[in-house]
Symmetry: C2
Subunit: 329 residues, 2 copies
């Protein structure tokens, strides 16, 4: 036991850590919330949307760059985006935390605070309804997100049809520019991450950094896109070109981006982690506010992605296995 006012989690019981988290994330909105063997969640229209995504110290974040709040926020946001990308409204997160026993209790509390804030901001009504605490040498945050379709059919990747408009809600390439700021300017000669010197950053750099560390995908637009008749939708986690090629392949089509509509962001086609919503709509659809047209669906070609009718030949994005060494820093 410790007399420290901010003990390490290895010095207190699991119950103390859990209590601190539950106090931070606030009351449950579920039929049965935290505290029993499992949560019981409402699925009023007879189905539920479920996804899981993990943030791992090293490949997915560095503690020199991300605060505990940032980590909680991002772990929530990326999963909320996957639920929204089905056209669903997120209702619950389950959070599996594996942490070194030297982790400070305040760190856990800040992480829980970030999870909670992301839900409150991006997906009002979504709560942390369960989870798991365990010890690990590697800080790992696995979040399961659940959501409901409110009577809509799920919007799959495979529904894009020739003639559809391709539209985007949210940023593309900004989070990757933020990552480049971190890699280029806040590592020492050996490549080790260093603390961020905010005084050295422009407002534009700060925007990019915030997109990388605390992304704000347009979660509420997922159900609105479904209601508006989106034929296909996905969140852009690995870069617009790569994710669009996946949508195109699943749909048996090709996607032709309109360069003039993609904007001036340098990594707009290759940069991942913004978790924008990429969707296709019938050409006559009035796009929901927040979506902008960026291309159209054309008949299947050998190339899955075109830019102004020409095959896209740039980098297609991020593969965590293939790219891990290069990004290890």
């Amino acid at each position: 036991m410790t007399t420290d006012s901010d003990p390490r989690i290895g010095e207190v019981s699991e119950g103390v850590v859990l209590r601190r988290i539950l106090d931070t994330v606030g009351p449950s909105a579920a039929e049965v919330g935290p505290g029993d063997d499992a949560a019981v969640l409402s699925a009023p229209h007879g189905s539920i949307v479920a996804t899981v995504d993990t943030l791992v110290h090293g490949p997915d974040f560095r503690l020199a760059w991300s605060s505990a709040f940032d980590l909680g926020w991002k772990a929530a946001a990326v999963n909320l985006a996957d639920v929204a990308a089905m056209g669903a409204r997120p209702t619950a997160l389950l959070v599996a935390l594996a942490m070194p026993d030297a982790t400070r209790l305040s760190f856990v509390e800040d992480l829980a605070s970030g999870l909670h804030a992301a839900c409150e901001t991006l997906a009002p009504g979504c709560r942390i309804e369960g989870g798991d605490l365990t010890v690990s040498e590697t800080l790992t945050i696995a979040v399961t997100a659940l959501g409901v379709l409110d009577g809509h059919a799920p919007v799959l990747r495979s529904g894009a049809r020739v003639g559809d408009v391709v539209a985007l809600a949210g940023d593309a390439g900004v989070a990757a520019r933020g990552l480049a700021v971190l890699f280029d300017r806040f590592r020492d000669a050996a490549g080790t991450p260093m603390a961020i010197d905010h005084a050295a950053l422009s407002a534009d750099d700060e925007t990019a950094l915030a997109s990388q560390l605390r992304p704000k995908p347009p979660i509420v637009l997922g159900p609105l896109a479904a209601a508006a008749g989106a034929t296909a939708m996905m969140d852009v986690s690995d870069g617009l070109a790569l994710d669009a090629s996946r949508m195109a392949e699943a749909s048996g089509v090709t996607i032709d981006f309109d360069l003039a509509q993609l904007g001036n962001e340098p990594l707009v086609l290759s940069g991942g982690e913004d978790h924008a919503l990429l969707a296709s709509f019938p050409a006559e659809t009035a796009l929901p506010a927040g979506f902008r047209a960026i291309g159209r669906v054309v008949p299947e070609m050998r190339e899955r992605v075109l830019v102004d009718g020409t095959p896209y030949e740039g980098s297609t994005g991020w593969d965590p296995y293939r790219d891990w060494d290069a990004h290890a820093g």
Copy 2:
């Protein structure tokens, strides 16, 4: 790239690893299975049961002792038990795997095979419907299990009433005896785990070892207990005494075990990880086959757990934070 017939996952694309897993776990039974942003699962009675539990290399398993198949099996079994303990029938697992990039592809395949086999054996109809792959220095398996109540109310920990019979389905203390076999007999002088020498083990030791490495909680008895009118239920993950004290506290009662009915297993009250189902039933209930009476619910006392009317003073079980150093081996 490698010419090795069993490449490391760092040498192949995420798509190759995913394909191998999906081929192993077989077809989806969900409305939308793996391959989109999220799974869509049927919740025919308007609610869903959800839980997550993580196995971490080091505190939760050692690769000298557990095969990849064992790990997959156990990761599934412990989560299926949490769903069953609510009185629910498991329908889907989401599996988040974080693995060193030196992990062999065959290891991932064997792990998926263990996940699949546990579902097939313990919870027929439950499938792996989604997941996530990422790189980590620490092999980590976070499994989310989802289930349906088939119209029953969930069976909480808090429903035990004075006069109820306390009953158990499954083993208690056997898995802990298996862990003791590993710790006592298959570590070197420095405490490092060594390969298991099966020739040195009695049939009884092998039984205990199998309970530790590939537990077989009575998943199908969870919904049967709910249908029979169980007033409270939980799975025994941290030891019968500790988990019964949690049920007693949640219910505002005390639980009195009948020593004669607990059997001869030395760690029956303190040993965790068997994931038996502990339930209370009204006294007049005919217990479902597979449950045996082991005590009764008595009015609340200062002590939460008694044995033959006397306060239980033994070890109450396992706290992963408090006990980690002692168990690190």
